[in-house]
Symmetry: C2
Subunit: 261 residues, 2 copies
């Protein structure tokens, strides 16, 4: 059963907040962690793990191991994959005709069946109690409808699963807020405000109206995972329990918690 869903950022600043906004954001992440302590497994979709242009990924490797941090920040972490749930998501998505691949590594099972984690997973997981995980990866060159449909499949599978599961979209927003490697574009603020309003109002269907041009200028790492989150929430409608946003450097970060009505 799906007990909740969240959007969680993966930027280093939430680990050591240096301003009031980021502190509030980190507090929100802790609240998500408390809410999700009821879960027996997490499903997390991350933009900084496997990146395939046109295929959605379900990581099947048994052991998920910290490998790559951003900057000098490397969180440790070892997680088990909730394999039965991963297999069910893969098979159901495939049966629905979605462009999905199952990804194992090195060996099909046992200690050598391992997969590397990055800041994209480790930072959200840092705020959550340790549980088995299913790691999913989005794709940017599939249609918006495909991403939503994948979310619907995930929502359906999680709802039917016999353990309590929480869904997490790892997502940072626009990267073109200036003073960073991606320069400045006014669309960054526009995108972030729009997305946070859509989330606060719990009208994620509005994500589908965001023009490609706004997305490509704002440079978010969130849009594709949010469409999957929308699909999940289409299947299992929930209410917004909290939403926070901060932009302490060149990229926007937001947190949101959805719980059952």
């Amino acid at each position: 059963m799906l007990i909740g869903a969240a959007m969680m950022p993966h930027g280093n600043p939430v680990l050591k907040p240096e301003d009031e906004g980021t502190r509030k954001l980190a507090e929100a992440l802790k609240e998500i962690g408390e809410e999700f302590s009821k879960a027996e497994a997490y499903v997390i979709i991350s933009p900084h793990n496997i990146r395939m242009s046109e295929a959605l990924g379900v990581i099947m490797a048994e052991n998920l191991i910290s490998w790559l941090g951003f900057g000098e920040v490397q969180l440790p972490g070892e997680y088990k994959t909730e394999k039965e749930l991963a297999r069910e998501i893969y098979q159901r998505a495939k049966a629905n005709g979605l462009p999905v691949v199952d990804i194992n590594f090195a060996s099909l099972s046992g200690e050598y069946s391992r997969f590397p984690l990055t800041w994209g997973e480790l930072i959200p997981l840092h705020f959550l109690e340790k549980r088995p995980v299913v790691l999913l990866t989005p794709a940017r060159k599939v249609s918006r409808a495909t991403l939503v449909e994948f979310g619907e499949v995930v929502g359906e599978v999680l709802e039917e699963y016999d353990k309590k599961v929480a869904f997490i979209a790892s997502a940072d927003h626009a990267h073109a807020h200036g003073n960073g490697p991606y320069g400045y574009a006014p669309e960054a603020k526009e995108y972030d405000e729009l997305v946070m309003r859509i989330i606060q109002e719990n009208r994620l269907e509005k994500l589908l109206e965001i023009p490609d041009e706004l997305i490509s200028k704002a440079l978010p790492d969130s849009y594709w995972q949010l469409l999957v989150l929308y699909g999940v929430l289409k299947k299992v409608p929930m209410k917004v329990k909290l939403a926070e946003y901060a932009c302490p450097s060149y990229f926007g970060m937001g947190a949101a918690l959805f719980v059952r009505e």
Copy 2:
């Protein structure tokens, strides 16, 4: 241009040979290394990296980094991906309707675009001078014809490429020779002898006649990569320069070098 092709094992024993047969095998690997010192890039297909059931993989990540050894043996290693060649293989395979995905990791480019290597790549690469690499991954649940066709596409792309390239199939043979984790099956010896004979006689088309049952009982890590090698050699016929085999533990290892006529 394709300057040569090889089958290379990835078992730890070739790193520290303890018997005459394995010493000869390691010598053959050094000879492959000398022959391939003429190459400007390598394309290697490995069974111990990404494992997808039904999709062939082309690793697009810029940096390939040692991550996972077998047992206590961890070779270091950092390689650059020959990105242009990787992209061409992916695009050509896709244009040919093959089930192929492009795999990047963490970031699309730059220092965070990294991918982990295992013993499946590091041991063959250990015998070769350092060059940029394209890493490919096979799949076991696609048809034999698909694997051969993928090899043909790879052969065609390598032949047209403006740098000198060598193709390497990382492959260990049957794992059911006994005294190991996979037990004993007489089919292990049968498979290994058959495959080495096929290679020595340079009649790789005979691979297609090997029954599924023999493969499933022998438990090789070679069959699928050898079909891709066959496809490469179909496009660019070569002669066998050397072939060696040893079985110092529970799995068979073979080396073969193909050079242009």
